[in-house]
Symmetry: C2
Subunit: 230 residues, 2 copies
Amino acid sequence: MRKQETISGTIGNASGSKLGIPAPASRRAFTDAFSMLGATLPFRRNAEIYGEGEPSEYVYRVQSGAVRTSKLLSDGRRQIGAFHMPGDIFGLEAGDTHQFTAEAISDVTVLFVKRSIIMSLAARDGAVASELWSVTADALRRAHEHMLALGRKSAQERIATFLLGIAERTEDYDTVELPMSRLDIADYLGLSIETVSRTLSLLESEAAIELPSFRRIRLRNRDALSRLNA
Amino acid sequence: MRKQETISGTIGNASGSKLGIPAPASRRAFTDAFSMLGATLPFRRNAEIYGEGEPSEYVYRVQSGAVRTSKLLSDGRRQIGAFHMPGDIFGLEAGDTHQFTAEAISDVTVLFVKRSIIMSLAARDGAVASELWSVTADALRRAHEHMLALGRKSAQERIATFLLGIAERTEDYDTVELPMSRLDIADYLGLSIETVSRTLSLLESEAAIELPSFRRIRLRNRDALSRLNA
DNA sequence: CGGGATATTGATTGATTTCAATGTGAGTGG
DNA sequence: CCACTCACATTGAAATCAATCAATATCCCG
């Protein structure tokens, strides 16, 4: 598998990013263009959407399901840069080839638009250009936040940060439905699956969370998690 | 090897970033605007240029010297996101407040321009908007590359990646003059200073590098380092 | 030529990984 | 509907890499 990437962060709602500049009315020019121009494409669980090193011809938006973007080292070690949830843009990168691999975590539907179309649209329409920048700058902010976790946080802190981050964009404020496997979480957080598993068990034993099933986590004590969020 | 920024970002020559779109003539519209409009400001070694959480009123370009941008955890653990060298843009972020602290590593001179001016310029001039996006997308690419190092690389691999990345943008292809301390390197690579020091010594004992003085490193065997670059 | 900051080196500890079973759950076919 | 199976997850024990604790050593500065 190859990889490339685009936006990172976590599950960031790319379209919700804010401009630093007063451009309120134009905030959705790019997003709207996507909705108008985008064609729909479905992918099965684990299918590759694009691979690292491939020409980056299209830009994507998650319609339903979840997508991971990751990079591999030559010996197979993997770093997931971001999980993309519905509404998130991915595949928008500097350069002509994807720096990441994008894969479907669950069955997903994406919208896609030719990159060249996005770019020429941006060249003509300042509002589009502005939102285009915002989406990228927001991804950068999340990437930086994640660097802090990877470089300086303990396993417990990384898990706590991850859980709170996911919960933020969940309907049910307290119960998180994870679309991704433990391995995905491990590769996102720079840990082994065993450490992820052990740390979740530990947090459960401390009554910070509850694990009703593999893919479902109930946050019982946000304060405890926030404290770990350093 | 070319001047690809592979690494860690840093020191990236922001103005040299490539668009994915044919926009050759406009590549320096933003950079040029900076040169025209920017006011000069000097900072002493270790002086703070701006602090995390402060309103992000200006955008900066390094004129001379080196700058680090970093984030702190509440207990003082620090992650340096990037080192900025002459020509690099920094301080350009999503949102109205800085997500980082920027400090002078050595005595530095920076150019700065009001963010609002940059933004309205971009709104009017597609070439500026395009380069603005490129600069940010390029920073994102480096951040992602660095995430891979922080999440998945060993100490030796991180150091090798770091050295090759810095050497890429050095005049003298073989001898690297480090503007930053071991502590800065450690906080950039997510290691302790002792591990940085030990790893450099190890690489020296393997004849991959030579350490004529604290701040100077000679690369004696790039292949050995590249092998570690995974 | 000192002196403090910065860096190296050594010894030890400790968090996380790795290796190794065991457990659990969802899907399939009888 | 149940049994089987395979992928995924948990748990345990041992090994390992890097952090921490602790002295020196070196460099740059005045």
